[in-house]
């Protein structure tokens, strides 16, 4: 089926099966590499994108359900995004594979005022896994960006 997706402020026509997941369409047809599949069951957060500003797991969201909504990936954040800058300043990454999902989740937490304490930040990031184990610096980065 033909779909028109609004990705990072741009309308993109794609040809997808009804059951194709959003993350696969974004990677294979839109050519983005920021959303990534790790667990495939919506638990690890590496596929996180913002759908009308809300973080969703792209690996369990069927692409047609994203029609008519604004999809934001890491590639769509402004160059001077404060969360991105804070992750950089705090060296809050190693391999980087989980980081786009972390940044987008943190962006939403900060926008909603849900990053006011370390405990709240840990709760908010609970669905974003990082096997390198960069959590301490990621939490510091989010705390700093929220201030």
């Amino acid at each position: 089926m033909n779909l028109t997706l609004n990705v990072n402020g741009r309308a993109v026509d794609v040809d997808a099966e009804p059951h194709d997941m959003l993350v696969d369409v974004l990677r294979d047809q839109v050519g983005l590499t920021g959303p990534r599949v790790t667990c495939g069951v919506g638990l690890c957060g590496t596929c996180t994108v913002l759908l009308d500003g809300e973080p969703v797991s792209g690996c369990i969201l069927m692409a047609p359900l994203a029609q008519g909504k604004e999809i934001t990936t890491i590639e769509g954040l402004p160059e001077d995004d404060e969360v991105v800058a804070s992750f950089d300043r705090n060296h809050a990454f190693q391999c980087g594979y989980c980081i786009p999902g972390m940044v987008l989740t943190a962006r939403d937490m900060i926008d909603k005022g849900h990053a006011c304490s370390r405990e709240e930040i840990r709760e908010g990031l609970g669905g974003n896994l990082c096997r390198c184990g960069c959590y301490l610096k990621i939490i510091e980065a989010v705390e700093e960006a929220a201030q």
Partner: protein, 744 residues
């Protein structure tokens, strides 16, 4: 290839001026890893490539008797063991594998493959193939597999010519033991002993006199389960044949071993294989030696076009695991606390194929001896085949399994003697100039400072109330022998290019190389670029494992910089660390430098639920000199967090050899919710040499927690320390795994 192989890469991106130690990055501007501006293996593609799916055995042991393929589309390419008849067997330390097998040895063994124009077509095709099997008896637990008369996983034992087989193997004929490693300190050598000790209650009569001077003996058995590496990026490989040359782009920690092994499998000269390594989204040991590369290369050869293979998450879980192990430790001491003798039996479950299990077994053996003085040491490590998925390299490389046992036993000894557990350790620590059980004389020994630091972190007071507290000190080795070469080339634009095979797993290899080259060349970091590991372009390096790269490559680079200053435009550097251990006595050089660390924990245990609540988890690792402060901290923190998961919840479970939790819903790894208690230190000393730091803090974490838990009366022997196991340990029971396959 569309991948970045031919491009130079400046660390991770455009470099920025070096602003002294502690600068957050050698990269100018926002690091491209944050904004997805780098390409991982999975992002690499070759135009026109088809897609591979592997068809895997549904039985743990037996024979494939037929395939039904009538439903496959005409354009689908189907590969079976018939397509590998001209290929050589492989295996990094023992050549016991074929690319596709007729005789599967674990659930998940590759028995066939399909290649189709799209990933979707390949997935559908794989689901349409039906397989007929003839099952044979199987064996899963390491103690079952070493028992006399056990079903043999392999009918005979093999050897390997690979560079990775760096010591003599001691396979035990007629058993599942593919390698036996022993340490015997001088007075214990040359005894008449059984070849294999299959029982955990063996009286060990031949060596009993080693304990003659001991007033107190602690003799206990511990177990660690299989665990998963869980690199966030799955294994991803692209392969093509160009004018008879094989080109593979793949996420691997072992580019030169890969080149050699692929050349051997396909009967090519090493120069006719090119291995290019893009950035990896983590590996932790999972991306070592042949994984998806040989099957993808075979498929590309048969298809006559490029082929891509990306594993699903459940396949990543089954591809390679951490070795389950059973470790028995017997420690003898005098009444005053002086250690007399240590005896270790390590039973290492390497699954269906040896992979690097023999090396893991060896390191498990000597790491369990610990940083202590003994009159006598005897170790037996058995690398044992079973019908589980293969065990392989895993962050910590065997040290965690035996240190879990050994450091718990030190606390048990302290309790028996009525001596403070930290003081008992201090009393027996190795110091500068002391001799380790391998005959090596210790140098740059920092164990006492590490022990004191960890004890202070939990407010340990000598002979004070230690309820809820545990302290541990460890040593682990680095790959020895090994070689590292590096080249630095002055480019026409005046910048310097570092050519080195150190793979960027995510640990910051590019940044490390950039900073070091800039320091040695006395230039700004933005004058240094680092090329991607590409075996056509970079010189030989043993591999990116065992926390060796910063230590070895720093010296190769310094050598290259000196050479460049003499010769003008190209400088070549080379270092080797020589050594190795005799497999029958364990005498020799285990490690050209020692990774030294400590950890401590302070916690509570809920009496009703068995839940452990950590208030402090601390680790101190000796770094000597730090190249990149943030990178060093991240490695230490990451190691601790992995150790925390190992201690409390990570365990692969099997039913009749079938993994039952190969997903991140049923196999939990640590999240941000688990790290509130973590603090740590990377220990530097003025003038210290560069020490590896990639995994030192993994092994001490589980026993630090275990020792603290034991102060409440919960004597947990089996990892992970789940609430059920904690409660069962209070009752004095041994926890039985629900699968009934717990080897104890």
């Amino acid at each position: 290839m569309t991948q970045r192989a031919d491009q130079t890469r400046p660390g991770d991106g455009p470099a920025r001026a070096y602003d002294g130690p502690g600068a957050s990055s050698a990269v100018r501007g926002i690091n491209p890893r944050i904004t997805a501006q780098i390409s991982y293996s999975i992002d690499s593609t070759i135009p026109g490539e088809w897609h591979l799916r592997i068809i895997r055995s549904a039985i743990p042991a037996g024979r494939v008797t037929g395939f039904q393929t009538a439903l496959l589309d005409d354009d689908v390419i189907f590969l079976t063991a018939d397509d590998v008849s001209d290929l050589n067997t492989f295996g990094c330390q023992i050549a016991d594998q074929v690319v596709l097998t007729r005789e599967p040895k674990f659930v998940g063994d590759a028995i066939a493959a399909v290649v189709a124009p799209t990933a979707r077509d390949a997935r559908v095709a794989a689901s349409l193939v039906e397989v007929d099997y003839e099952a044979v008896p199987s064996v899963f637990g390491e103690m079952d597999a070493i028992a006399p008369g056990a079903q043999l996983v392999h009918a005979k034992h093999y050897t390997s010519e690979s560079d990775s087989a760096y010591f003599d193997m001691r396979p035990q004929d007629g058993t599942n033991v593919c390698h036996r490693f022993r340490i015997r300190t001088p007075a214990l050598q040359g005894r008449d002993e059984p070849e294999v000790v299959p029982h955990l209650d063996d009286p060990d009569d031949a060596l009993a006199d080693a304990f003659a001077d001991a007033d107190v003996i602690v003799d206990e058995v511990f177990h660690t389960p299989a665990a998963a590496h869980v690199p966030m990026e799955p294994h991803a490989t692209n392969a093509q044949w160009v004018d008879g040359r094989l080109e593979v782009t793949t996420g691997t920690q072992t580019p030169f071993n890969m080149r050699q092994d692929l050349a051997h499998i396909f009967g090519l000269a090493a120069e006719d294989v090119r291995v290019v390594v893009p950035f990896m989204g983590g590996a932790f040991g999972a991306k070592t030696f042949i994984r998806t590369e040989a099957i993808t290369a075979l498929a590309a050869r048969k298809a006559g076009r490029p082929v891509r293979c990306v594993l699903d998450r459940d396949e990543v879980f089954n591809e390679v695991t951490r070795h389950p192990s059973t470790v028995r430790i017997k420690l003898g001491a005098k009444r005053d606390g002086t250690f007399v003798a240590k005896r270790i039996w390590a039973y290492v479950n390497t699954g269906a194929y040896a992979d690097c299990g023999p090396g893991v077994a060896q390191k498990m053996g000597y790491a369990g001896v610990g940083p202590y003085r003994f009159d006598h040491v005897a170790v037996d490590s058995y690398c044992i085949y079973t019908n589980l998925p293969p065990g392989g390299a895993f962050r910590g490389y065997g040290a965690m399994q035996s240190i879990w046992a050994a450091e718990r036993v030190v606390d048990m000894m302290a309790d028996k003697l009525g001596i403070d557990a930290v003081e008992l350790r201090r009393q027996n620590l190795l110091h500068e100039g002391d001799t380790f059980c391998t005959g090596e004389v210790m140098h740059d020994a920092r164990f006492e400072e590490l022990l004191d630091d960890a004890a202070a972190a939990v407010g340990w007071e000598k002979d004070g109330d230690r309820r809820g507290k545990g302290v541990v000190v460890i040593l682990k080795g680095m790959q020895t022998p090994s070689k590292a070469e590096a080249r630095i080339e002055l480019l026409p634009d005046g910048r310097y290019e570092v050519q080195a095979a150190t793979a960027d797993i995510g640990q910051g290899a590019g940044e490390m190389l950039t900073r070091l080259a800039a320091e040695y060349l006395k230039v700004e970091v933005d004058q240094v670029v680092v090329c991607a590991p590409d075996t056509d372009r970079v010189p030989y390096d043993t591999r990116t494992t065992s926390s060796r790269s910063t230590h070895m490559m720093s010296r190769a680079l310094a050598d290259a910089a000196r050479d460049l200053q003499v010769h003008g435009t190209i400088g070549h550097g080379y270092v080797s660390n020589d050594g190795g251990l005799d497999p029958d006595t364990g005498q020799g050089i285990a490690s050209s430098h020692w990774h030294q660390g400590s950890a401590s924990a302070e916690l509570e245990v809920d009496d009703e639920t068995g839940i452990i609540s950590l208030s402090t988890l601390y680790a101190c690792s000796y770094a000597g000199k730090v190249i990149n402060k943030h990178g060093a901290e991240l490695q230490n923190e990451g190691s601790m967090i992995l150790g925390l998961g190992t201690a409390l919840f990570e365990e692969l479970q099997y039913t009749e050899g079938q993994m039952t939790n190969p997903n991140l819903s049923d196999y939990n790894i640590a999240s941000a919710l688990d790290v509130a208690s973590i603090r740590h230190r990377v220990m530097e000393v003025p003038g210290g040499e560069v020490h590896g730091l990639g995994e030192t803090a993994v092994p001490p974490v589980p026993p630090a927690i275990g020792n603290a838990v034991a102060t409440f009366g919960y004597d947990v022997r089996d990892l992970p320390m789940t609430p059920e196991r904690v409660l069962a340990a209070r009752l004095g029971d041994t926890f039985q795994s629900p699968t009934g396959e717990d080897p104890q």
